[in-house]
Amino acid sequence: MSERRRLNAARDALRHQKEWFAGLRADAERGRRVALVNADAPQEILRAMDVPYVVNQWWASIISAKRMSGRYLAELRSRGLPDDVEQYSALPLAEALAPSGDDAPWGGLPRPSVVLAECTGDSMRRMFALWESELGVPFLPLESSAAESVPERWWELMRHDWEMAIGSARVDLLREELEAAVPRLEELTGGTFDRHRLARVMDLSNEQAEWNRRTRDLLARAPGCPVAVNDVIPAVMIPQWHRGTEWAVQAARSLYEEVRGEVDAGRSVVPVERRRLMWIGRGLWFDMDFYRSFEESHGAVFVWSMYLALAADAYARYGDDPLRALAARFCAFRDQMYTPPWSVEWYVKEARTHRVDGVVHLVSSDSRSSWFTTRALEAAGVPVIEIRADNADGRSLDPGELHRRVGRWIESLG
């Protein structure tokens, strides 16, 4: 068993995030306005206004990692609101509604001056509207459109041929919504939208995506997996939340170079890699050690999570009109990972290119089309174990039982 050395890229990203958040809190205390943005909403519009923002799901992952989700969700329940629906998205609201205490994660989320989110599903609009009705924080909703038909192999189309992949109507809709949101966002945040700055933000975020693509391809081809997935996730996702900055590009490049060095040096997470595993679903934030818990006992390594793969395939959008390209980045974003046939074709493609021996498929209560994902993988000859739990709600899972069950399944792989 190799020593559990943390990737520099992960360590640096985590350090940066803590410093950044401390700075954001200090700025907020001095009166600078902060926005809260849902993960699948076009954050770059705020970047182009030089408005600091926190990503809702990132903050939920911090709450969950600090094992405070149960306490905050109880606040929703005490108000007669659901504490068992879309917990991952609801946690920051739950924290904001709860009495503030000295033990809030990282000092607590500053009160945002605006919340920006797309109306995915039935609950999202309700949940974010509570920021406005209960806390006085204005909510700017964006539509969540859907396509009747889609072409195959989206990952080959999205960078340049997104108009064809998504369809003009959906792109037009979000572009028009963003155009209309700008004056309101300027009013609420004090920022000024700069179209040239947005073009630069899009250039930088595309460059970041290209580094992530190289890293993903490198890991797929490497003879043995040289880096642990729970290192790759923060090394990719923290820069993702800083998309459109020079720091994020450099972070993505540093990750690539570090992984390149590991591959060139012939290093691998385990000396003898007996099983290569894929994790489908959101990260298990309250038990990230799970991903490394089969290395010693089974020689089994998680070589894939969606975070790097999405960073590689799902974000890059090139085009002359940066606002339109930004709309194209987000108006079909969830389709790429949750909507068949796009999602299932992509998972099978990734399973093949990463030569996985099996897939651990997290099916949350709000997961969609999971039967098709499992079926397509099994049809492609990839064994799948499904786990039913909520990734951010530690109440939904017994870690010991999960470990035993997955362990037995790994042993059963031929």
């Binding site: 009705s133 539509e143 099916v363 039967w371």
Partner: protein, 377 residues
């Protein structure tokens, strides 16, 4: 379709029979070689279906139907009513629609569309063609423009499907027919509390989602005569307003009313909430405006609006108790209930995680009291 002269009692019986067998008008229609379109979504522009010469039938669940295969495909947090509809499409018996049309009325509806599309694409199941009408409802100009494009596209699709574009006069005739049905339905809304139980009223509403619109208007008008007489037979029970999940059959109301409740009003789209103003002339633009702004599914209303609708409904119907009935996985109502409870001004109860077509009456009695015991004690 030939419309026989109906005796008033026959009209009432026909509406009840259609509620119990939603496929009956479709079979009659199809027997004459005409197509049937099954649709999901209160915001479906049924006029386009009618204008294309097809019968629009709103797909409903059926209690007792084996939904296990459908649940396999449509797993996760999806309203069991929609799972039941999928079960009906997988095993349609004699009443398979020629085309399925689904709107983005709710997340469950969208998941139903995606599931049908993927089952067809992969060849796992033999299913009719399915269209998605992605109507959205935020109050913005961008949404209105997007919807206009979607409705125009649907009109083109319906024309292509039947082999001839929909003409303006065909659309006008369809609008007129559905307006007649809307007017008859509005009369039912006005008179329900004085002459019908909630379950009877829901049966008559539901019949309108399966019959040709003109025939429904005639039948309902005649049926209303049958219950208007002297002396009026005003139904009895503790007056209850029902909000929350869609009730596409009368089973829950039957259960409630068998325990001493009287459902005097509701705000879901199979009940009073399905009321629509008459559609103005104006072609596709007017049609789009109607189904974007005048017909708002629950997910298109914010919590404040839902609370206001509930309060107005309770006041209008004279309800003594407000019930929010929320099916398992149809959780949108649970977010809105605290606001509704604060607004209605009468005792309010939430029944959550309910199974399809059933209600936990013991829980309701524990929370709000049992009318039967109050009557007998």
């Amino acid at each position: 379709m030939t419309v026989p002269q109906l005796e008033t009692r026959d009209a009432a019986r026909l509406l009840d029979a259609v509620h119990d067998d939603r496929g009956a008008p479709a079979r009659e229609w199809a027997a004459a070689g005409r197509p049937v379109v099954g649709y999901v979504g209160a915001d479906t522009p049924v006029e386009l279906v009618t204008a294309a010469g097809a019968l629009p039938v709103r797909l409903a669940g059926r209690p007792g139907r084996d939904a296990s295969r459908a649940r396999t495909y449509l797993e996760g947090a999806v309203d069991p009513q929609v799972v039941n509809i999928l079960a009906g499409l997988l095993d349609p018996g004699e009443t398979s629609p020629d085309l399925v049309l689904i709107t983005h009325e709710s997340d469950a509806s969208l998941q139903l569309f995606l599931t049908l599309r993927e089952l067809r694409r992969t060849g796992v199941e033999a299913l009719p063609p399915v269209h998605l009408l992605d109507l959205l409802h935020l109050p913005s100009k961008a949404t209105a423009r997007y919807n206009l494009g979607r409705v125009r596209r649907l009109a083109d699709q319906m024309g292509a499907w039947r082999g001839r574009a929909i003409a303006a006069d065909e659309l006008e005739e369809a609008v007129e027919a559905h307006n007649r049905a809307r007017a008859a339905r509005a009369e039912l809304t006005r008179r329900r509390a004085t002459c019908l139980t909630g379950a009877e009223c829901l049966r008559w509403y539901a019949a309108g989602t399966a019959m040709p619109p003109g025939r429904y208007a005639d039948t309902l008008t005649e049926a209303l005569r049958s219950v208007t007489g002297t002396p009026p037979a005003t139904p009895r029970g503790r007056r209850l307003f029902v909000s929350g999940s869609e009730q596409d059959t009368a089973d829950v109301y039957d259960a409630l009313e068998s325990r001493g409740w009287l459902v005097v009003g509701d705000d879901h789209s199979w009940g009073d909430g399905g009321h629509q103003p008459l559609l103005a002339a104006g072609g596709i633009e007017a049609l789009t405006e109607h189904y974007t702004r005048a017909v708002l599914p629950v997910t298109g209303r914010d919590a404040r609006r839902r609370a206001a609708i509930a309060a107005a409904g309770v006041l209008r119907s004279g309800a003594e108790v407000f019930l929010c009935y929320s099916r398992r996985y149809d959780d949108v109502h649970r977010w809105d209930f605290p606001g509704q409870r604060a607004a209605v001004g009468v005792p309010a109860a939430l029944l959550r995680d309910q199974p399809y077509a059933r209600a936990d009456l013991a829980e309701l009695a524990a929370g709000i009291g049992d009318p039967q015991k109050q009557v007998t004690s």
